[in-house]
Amino acid sequence: MTLLFNMIGIVSDNWLLLLVGQFPNGPLGGIAATLILSILGIALAFPLSVAMALARLSPWPVLRWPATALVYVVRGVPLLLIILWVYFLLPLLIGESVPGFVTMLATLVIYEGAFLSEIVRAGITALPRGQMDAARALGHSHLGAMRYVILPQALFNMIPSIISQFVSTIKETTLGYIINVPELTFAAGQINNRLLTKPFEVYFILAIIYFVVCWTLTKLASTLERRIAVRRARSMDGAAAPALAAASRT
């Protein structure tokens, strides 16, 4: 019981810090920074991931090999190590010091770009082969067929996976804490340092906030997934459609 009262007290004393950090007297932080970082991260990673997926599926080895190698390297190394790399290399490349927010954003773009590109690739290869063949037979070039026939269908089918990846991105922004990016986890750390005596309450509040945000998005993704499966099944003709829709529901 006292635990619950403590938690309510901590939230009512610190809700502004949890929401926007020290803004407007300092940098934007808290939930706002977490969400902005995730949205920007996934928005910038998306075009990169489409380009990488196309490169991995392209008929030209010059494009295929480097893209494949990049995806394997990024997927095989902890995010924390990639943060360290970006933290060290980005200032060298640009020639001036880089704020933590930008370091974290650049890391997320690289990391999410690689993971999203696997999703995009899976979405493309999941389309029936006939789509590509038909598009080519109609006179489209490889790129034209991708642009007008394959990608619009594949990207639509991928919307739920992209939302799931957005949830992962939100969870990954917590690592910004390690290089002192003022996001939600950082704000909780500040509160904990000030109170000193209630670490369990502070970190439990933090967990609940993340849970509420991510769980809502996860639910949204699975609802969309069901709808898209039904719609896809409907757009197919023949007797297979109801069966497919039923299969996707279970």
Binding site: L84, I170, K171, E172, F200, Y203, L206
Partner: protein
Amino acid sequence: MKGFDLMAILLNPEFSRMLVHGVKMTFIIFAGSWLLAMSLGITLLAIRMLPGRIADALVEAYVAYHRNVPTLVQLMLWYFGVSSLLPERLQVWLSDQNGEAIFAVIALGLCQAAYFSEDHRSGLRAVPKGQWEAARALGHSYLGAMTYILLPQAVRNAMPALVNHTVSLFKNSSLAMAIGVTELTHAVKEVENQSFRAFETYLIATVFYLVCSLLLMWLGYYFERRSRMAGAL
């Protein structure tokens, strides 16, 4: 900037000692949390298959919590939060026993158990219902049918997902540095601070993590191929 010199790190006894210790800790954290996650994941699946809604809902809540809260936050909640609720003598004892590592294993293991149990569950769901009916018709008991007919097929179905999550557990072991475990990423930062050779140090760690991840993926692929049934799709 100094020229590239990998040997300045590798041949330095102090630095190489720190890195080797880091690798050792990384393996300990990984192995410990993997074993915890795997056994707990299977237990969760078994609980979920009990008749009745309550057990099912509890496991579902467990899985939802661990999948929607960032792993770093789970680590911090255990290390800073839960440990502070323990009796003082236990706290002292834990800090003598390398408490950071113990809490890292607990937090990472509990978190990954949620993923493993979901993998096993979807593997089990993918086994055709007829297999169960046939096994029972042949006279197998519930446990017999599970052990000999259903679970072997379920694990085979779940293999690719289990391998993926094993690799991500291996990579997540690096998060333990945030609560002060002296694993590889921690060692890398220390060596970099002392040697001022970030490029070389990061390169060594990157190659290590990459080789281990690829090795895990390859092992998974190998077992998956070896366990494939004759005539299976």
